[in-house]
């Protein structure tokens, strides 16, 4: 391509008016260039200024949002800052609720002139609209900002009359979201046009992001707080929250006549269900029980106006507590307890089985004697243990007597532990005689005594119950078995040394049900026999029918096992309790012991008939009989006449310490 040269006047210097014209044109061009440069620079300066001011505003909102944990507080500040920044008259905060169906003003607003805007502020501060209604409702519907350029022309705006009255011209509203969820709306009104929408959008969207973060933090904190105060599995308040509620309920007590009740609920048999079906089954059961309890409490509160306020909490594996607050009448708690027992009755489906979990409920009521709520909790606990001791499905309300008893029992338990540790027990021996002419001494019943450091020598009646309830009976029983056999062995040794081949006495030892049902009981007996060298037929074990009631099969197995070695077995206290004949049929006993109560009332023909029936029964089943508690020659005579072979009692021989008791046999044999 070829270019043609365009002629320029550059080579020839212009002169005169030409030069002036040219210079003037040049000057004008320069001037325009300067103005343009200035305009560009001014535009830049202006934008820089505006962005600095906007950033400063956002920085203030962000700083405040970071410092504050309250959305209301940050919203209040942000509305004010934005209005002042934009020169707008009114800003209003609206929270979204009901799963995004309702937008309700939260009474957080800013007005540049509250007096002048009063009617409009009043119409706005408590506005509550549905999706699509009014300005916030439109944001709720569309999830994007909305603008109104001329309020007077928008007849759908519910607050139009008040806005026009307040000389408001324009409005805008923006969503505040967390992720996809619309959580709040902010709306602004101005008497001037909102012209620079891009700048407004930028500023408010960023402010809204900060506000959203505050709500997010508020929620996270609420969740953390909820998790810290609630049981994850059932969603119920946990021990921490219960403690807090108990304390504040107790504090409120001082101001009125209302009372509070604490109900401690322990599920019976929960551990067995957990062991048998696994933890998932136990968990499912707990969730099911929780639902039943909640429904029962709700129903109870609706039907009992005096029921007060109830907090159901889960405080341990299978332990629940209900705090009944503001109750007028203490009996409310017992009524609720009855209802709770009722709702537990229908079985729960676990795997392919149906299981039923009963509950033991302890109740304690507030009263002037309590200094703090913890004491009430402890007493309710104690009442629950009392309820549990009486079997599943019971309720016990704490009383002073119960408290004293429990405290005494706890003290006794402590002393029993010390007694075991310090070997404070000793054995007395009561001789058992053949009820024949010569009253031959056949053996001894070993009877425990406690050489208490301060109370002196105690009979078993003073401590055996406590030992059984605390489980210490197992340790004590083992000691009795071993000690009785050891003592008998040394007696045997002495007698054999003196008179080789003589007839050896037996020792009869009481075995508590808990001890008897220990898995290792039979082995323990065998070990004692081997270690002490007592001939097995010189050991008699006395059990009551209580063991059979607990587990008849196992009782039979154990009895059979120890009898196979030659150990004799006695059924103690026969005639009292159930005295089921099926025990006699199924359980291998050698001896029946007639309870002392029949012997004591032997003058009564009824008692005599019973004794006679027992003797007949024993005769037919080939069992020997020992009558207990023979306290008079007359009682002994009647028993002999009725054909009772053996007997024991104060009339024949009181329980004596080892040395005196065993001296007796030497005297007898010598005689």
């Amino acid at each position: 391509m070829k270019y043609e040269r365009i002629p320029l006047s550059g080579k020839t210097e212009p002169r005169g008016t030409d030069l002036v014209d040219r210079l003037e044109r040049q000057l004008e061009q320069e001037r325009k260039a300067r103005l343009e440069a200035e305009a560009i620079a001014e535009r830049g300066l202006r934008e820089l200024y505006e962005s600095q001011v906007r950033l400063a505003l956002l920085q203030r909102i962000t700083d405040f949002a970071n410092q504050s944990n309250s959305f209301a507080e940050v919203l209040d500040m942000a509305l004010k800052e934005i209005c002042l920044h934009m020169g707008w008259e009114f800003g209003n905060g609206i929270r979204v609720s009901d799963n995004g169906r309702v937008a309700a003003a939260c009474d957080t607003w800013f007005a540049s002139e509250p007096d002048r805007l009063f009617p409009f502020v009043e119409a706005s501060r408590a506005i509550r609209v549905g999706v699509g209604d009014c300005l916030p409702g439109r944001v709720l519907r569309d999830h994007h900002p909305h603008w109104i350029d001329e309020i007077a022309a928008e007849d759908w705006l519910a607050r139009r009359p008040q806005a026009v009255e307040a000389k408001l011209l324009s409005a805008c509203a923006f969503p505040i979201s967390i992720g996809d969820e619309l959580v709040a709306v902010i709306e602004f009104f101005s008497s001037k046009p909102m012209i620079d929408k891009d700048a407004i959008l930028l500023t408010i969207t960023q402010s809204a992001t900060q506000l959203g973060r505050v709500i997010e933090r508020e929620r996270a904190r609420a969740t953390l707080l909820h998790d810290a105060l609630h049981d994850a599995m059932t969603g119920l308040p946990n021990r921490v929250l219960l403690d807090e509620r108990c304390r504040s309920a107790f504090q409120r007590l001082s101001t009125g006549t209302a009372r509070l009740a604490i109900m401690v609920i322990d599920l019976d048999g929960f551990k067995a269900i957990n062991d048998k079906y696994g933890h998932h089954a136990g968990d499912a059961l707990l969730v099911d029980v929780t639902g039943r309890f909640q429904a029962a409490i709700n129903a109870f509160q609706q039907s009992h106006l005096q029921a007060g306020h109830a907090t159901l909490a889960r405080v341990g594996g299978d332990e629940f507590v209900i705090l009944l607050d503001s109750i007028k009448d203490g009996s409310v708690a017992e009524k609720l307890a009855t209802l709770l027992h009722d709702v537990l009755r229908p079985p729960t489906q676990v795997d392919n089985d149906q299981v039923t979990a009963g509950a033991s409920i302890g109740i304690a009521l507030s009263g002037p004697e309590y200094d703090d709520v913890e004491q009430i909790r402890r007493d309710a606990d104690l009442a629950m243990y009392e309820a549990k001791a009486s079997g599943s499905g019971h309720t016990v309300t704490f009383t002073d007597a119960l408290g004293t008893e429990a405290r005494n029992r706890m003290a006794l338990e402590r002393e029993l532990r010390e007694a075991i540790r310090d070997k404070q027990f000793l054995l007395f021996y009561q001789p058992i005689f053949a009820l024949t002419e010569d009253q031959r001494l056949m053996g001894y019943e070993a009877l425990i005594r406690w050489q208490h450091p301060t109370r002196g020598l105690l009979d078993p009646g003073a401590f055996i119950d406590a030992a059984e309830q605390s489980g210490l009976i197992v340790f004590i029983g083992d000691w009795v078995l071993r000690q009785g056999c050891t003592a008998l062995a040394s007696l045997h040794k002495r007698m054999v040394n003196k008179t080789p081949g003589c007839e050896l006495p037996f020792v009869s030892i009481n075995i508590a049900p808990q001890q008897f049902l220990q898995p290792s009981f039979a082995q323990q007996v065998q070990r004692v026999l081997i270690e002490t060298g007592v001939p097995s037929d010189c050991l008699r074990l006395e059990v009551t029918e209580g063991v059979a009631i607990i587990d008849a099969d196992r009782t039979r197995q154990v009895l059979e096992e120890i009898r196979a070695w030659g150990v004799r077995t006695s059924l103690d206290d026969f005639g009292t309790g159930y005295s089921s004949l099926s025990y006699l049929q199924n359980l291998p006993f050698d001896t029946l012991k007639i309870d002392r109560s029949f012997v004591a009332s032997i003058e009564d023909p009824k008692s005599r008939n019973i004794i006679r029936a027992i003797l007949d029964l024993a005769n037919n089943l080939n069992l020997s009989v020992v009558a207990e508690g023979i306290e008079s020659p007359e009682q002994g005579r009647v028993l002999v006449e009725m054909g009772c072979e053996f007997g024991q009692g104060f009339h024949l021989g009181v329980p004596l310490d080892e040395k005196s008791a065993f001296a007796l046999i030497d005297q007898r044999r010598a005689a």
Binding site: R34, L35, E42, R46, Y49
Partner: protein
Amino acid sequence: MKGVIFNLLEEAIVAEHGVAAWVDIMDLAGARGTYSSLGSYPDEELYAIVDHAAAGLALPVPDVLRWFGQGAIPRLAERYPTLFANHRGSRSFITSVNDVIHLEVRKLYAGAACPHFHFYDLADGRLAMAYQSRRQLCHLAHGFVLGTAAFFGDAIDVEHLACTSKGDALCRLALDWQ
């Protein structure tokens, strides 16, 4: 004083009296003659220009200031149309001068020392405009008011109620919209 004021004054003088008049005034006043709207220049330089313009045109200084203010408004509107866009009349423009016009000035020139005008209603219904004026610049304000009225198609009577040049503490103008 912001350079834009010098620019507007130059434009007014050149338009009315030609380039030579401006150049002469510059020479007589010993002024630099080159002003950018982005810059700030000593107030004394403006006063010197005004004084020499008054002498050259054989007019009193207040008249020159008033004439200049009046003629500056349409030129300002040409340069900064957004300043005028949001106003429908001269009253709203004049009363927003502190919050809008001077705010805009500060946006462009950080730290610009703009005067503050105090507006209040007089018992006779006129609007009072009071400010601490230096060197009779109240006449410049007077001119701006007249120019603004003309720009919006209004008419305003302006009366100087008080003036620092007469020993008053403040300059006070009474504005009466016709």
